[in-house]
Symmetry: C2
Subunit: 457 residues, 2 copies
């Protein structure tokens, strides 16, 4: 597979230029004002696939942001790989913490800096370029289909219906996704598990208007204090979530598997130093990797109420709000958990406030088996490029749609992710190391080759 290195060497600047064009489009799916940017990003992907050698590529409308679909069918009797990615990105707040503008990508210290550099423009783009390379050098060993959506960061709201409608068109032998991370650049890994997600927004309303905290303070319940108390009560002294029924469907991981997981390289001091924290935190009885890998959690993602500007204002706010999400493990149903949350939160509201719980998006967890041809092919491809066999590893993140793929399309997914922990996805200063970008482009054609070869046997 000598051609791979050569092709990358000859085209690496163009690869970057083309990716930068995509990164410059501020396609933030959670902010309505960015609607036109979603269309722009989708069109950009369509052109990218056509130029790379797709037989056809179209921007397909949904009730929300469109899905880009492209394919190249070289022989219907050959296996088909379905590539999934997303062109939408997270918001950029707090913008003042960015060292360079989030939508003006630049290279510094061997990394691409931009919102979406990793998640998921950078990672998905590797597939477009690997595909182009295989087509142009005559090395494409099978059929390829692409589906690139625009609502991953808001729960893939409209993708499920689109999958149902286009089931036949999407038929494949395996789904390939690069939207996860490796343990470390020199500890290659393949994600074999994802957590589910239930996300809610809560609003606590006290008096019908903001009040003067002197004239009313002490005699009227303060919704910010009440919200704080309600949130505080969601964890017990062992840092377990107190919502009744929350753990009911959690499947305990057996001791053997836990022992296997414990072999993953992990250094708590390095971890704490990299985050600049003195002490870690989490559910009693579990290690840090277990806490993110196999246990469900509850986190405040945002909280606000009252006067948050400069200086002091003596106001007793009328409302206080929070965005709260729960990461779930396989077998926990996100609809059920969102309902349990809502019931519990509303039930515990004291009479002096009104509480409203609004569910946002959610998604189920996923476990990927390691005894499949697809996993073996992925493992071999990574080993070729990194010189080390990758570690199978359960990530704490969520890609809500992965479990839906299996349910509707009937195919397993391989999570061939090249992100790194330091990439700051969802945070200011998102970045993606150039080395990972090019290694991804090296590994992908290898996966295609091994997968098709193993399939034939």
């Amino acid at each position: 597979m000598e051609y791979i290195k050569k092709y990358i060497d000859e085209n690496q600047q163009r690869f970057l230029d083309e990716l930068f064009g995509l990164l410059r489009i501020p396609s933030i799916s959670s902010i309505a004002d960015h609607k036109p940017d979603m269309i722009k990003a989708a069109e950009y992907w369509k052109e990218t696939l056509l130029k790379a050698g797709a037989d056809k590529a179209t921007v397909m409308p949904t009730d929300g942001n469109p899905v880009v679909y492209g394919e190249k069918i070289i022989d219907p009797s050959l296996p088909t790989i379905l590539v999934y990615g997303h062109y939408d990105v997270m918001p950029v707040d707090p913008i003042e913490l960015w060292k360079s503008q989030p939508f003006e990508p630049e290279i510094r210290d061997g990394k691409i800096w931009a919102r979406g550099a990793d998640d998921d423009k950078g990672q998905a783009f590797m597939h477009a370029k690997a595909f182009e390379m295989m087509v142009r050098t005559g090395n494409l060993p099978c059929n390829v289909k692409f589906m690139i959506e625009g609502e991953e960061e808001i729960g893939s709201t409209n993708l499920e219906k689109w999958l149902e409608t286009n089931k036949a068109m999407l038929k494949s032998d395996v789904i390939l996704v690069s939207d996860t991370s490796m343990l470390e650049a020199d500890v290659p890994s393949i994600t074999t598990g994802l957590r589910g997600l239930a996300y809610v927004e809560v609003e606590v309303t006290g008096p019908n208007r903001d009040l003067h905290s002197g004239l009313f303070g002490g005699a009227v319940a303060n919704p910010a204090n009440v919200l704080a108390k309600m949130i505080a009560s969601l964890h017990d002294d062992n840092n377990r979530v107190t919502i009744p029924g929350f753990y009911d469907d959690v499947m305990d991981v057996n001791p053997t598997e836990r022992a296997e997981m414990a072999k993953a390289p992990f250094n708590l001091d390095t971890y704490k130093n990299s985050l600049n924290i003195q002490e870690n935190w989490g559910e009693e009885g579990y290690s840090t990797l277990e806490r993110v890998g196999i246990r469900p959690t509850l986190d405040v993602n945002g909280i606000w109420g009252g006067y948050i500007g400069e200086g002091a204002k003596t106001v007793l706010p009328s409302k206080a709000n929070a965005k709260i999400s729960m990461r779930l493990v396989p077998n926990q149903d996100h609809h059920k958990i969102a309902e349990l949350f809502q019931k519990h939160f509303e039930a515990m509201a004291p009479k002096y406030v009104k509480v409203k719980v609004t569910p946002h998006h959610g998604g189920q967890g996923y476990v990927s088996p390691t005894d499949t041809i697809a996993y073996q092919a992925a493992s071999k491809a990574i080993e070729d490029v990194y010189g080390k066999k990758p570690v199978p590893y359960r990530s704490g993140g969520s890609i809500p749609i992965i479990s839906t793929f299996e349910r509707i399309l009937g195919s397993k997914t391989i999570l061939l992710g090249f992100g790194l922990e330091g990439d700051a996805i969802h945070s200011p200063n998102e970045n993606y190391p150039l080395q990972q970008f090019y290694r991804g482009i090296e590994a992908i054609p290898r996966f295609y080759k091994y997968f098709v070869e193993m399939k034939k046997k």
Copy 2:
């Protein structure tokens, strides 16, 4: 005193036009960008006093916003009344809740609507117009001094030094302030007590950057959750503040005085309905009026952390913040209380976060005696205009500088306030009923007259 009604009738539209000129200046003292507006408002006051008949009026610089000083000395052997007010106002957030623009005053439903309409531009302006009336009609019975400052809403930071420096110039027999409220429009009252204030800002820092809540959630303490827990712990089950030593200096009010206070007209259902709350709240063992009048409190005035924009973002925030204020009763020292808070809040911080407490401004409480000539004169003036003897009443609000006046200038203060509970001071849609505005202008010359007459006896 027939001349009063007549003069008001003939000049009422001009009074309003002139007040509107002041209300149009967005003199928000807590926001640095408004510095030029502070100067504008001070100059406006200077012109107002000169036109009203002051012998002199000057804008006197301080290390912060200037103080406007004006005087008319008709005879050094006569008593002197020192009028205090402030030209600065509170911020206007949340701006979207205002029905008309905060700095474009208008009359609707018999009320003036604008930021500062009551607090304190509207109320202080009554004194300027009453002074003008007494001068122009030859009814001024004594000397008058005005001091109108620009930092009341941020703790009168530089006024103390200015008072010390100008002590001799400010010599007076009584200080007259209209910056408080009456119980109701038909239940006139005079404020005889004010609460003190300690105001702090807290910052809880967890990891050194915003983290992906999936990849880190459950294994790293979330500062928003931690802050919620810390805030929740600040009240016990009886809604008492848990800071050690917080109540040490609170003087219990004796049963006789509590019985007297209980006679103030108050209807809990009306109160709850006006706020649209199902249940009131507060320290066990005290009535609503007691909770705001004679008991100290702790309220979150603002809280923020993480993603607070539209939609959902799965972030584990690096920081969470809150603005917290405590209303204090006489004998509680605000410096001491701010220190107790800081010590307690820092001491209870778990090791997995860092906590910073920054004290904002503060002020001492105040109790005004009812057996003075000044109180009797005020009571008689109010009774003349309202047809009812006013109720002495302890307000929950704070005017931090009042206790400083007594300490430095040696004079008692009369809190001759004409605000009403519905005026929404510090809130969106601040307003001031025209009736209260004109009644204030009627009452003030009566106070002058009675005070001077009683003094002579």
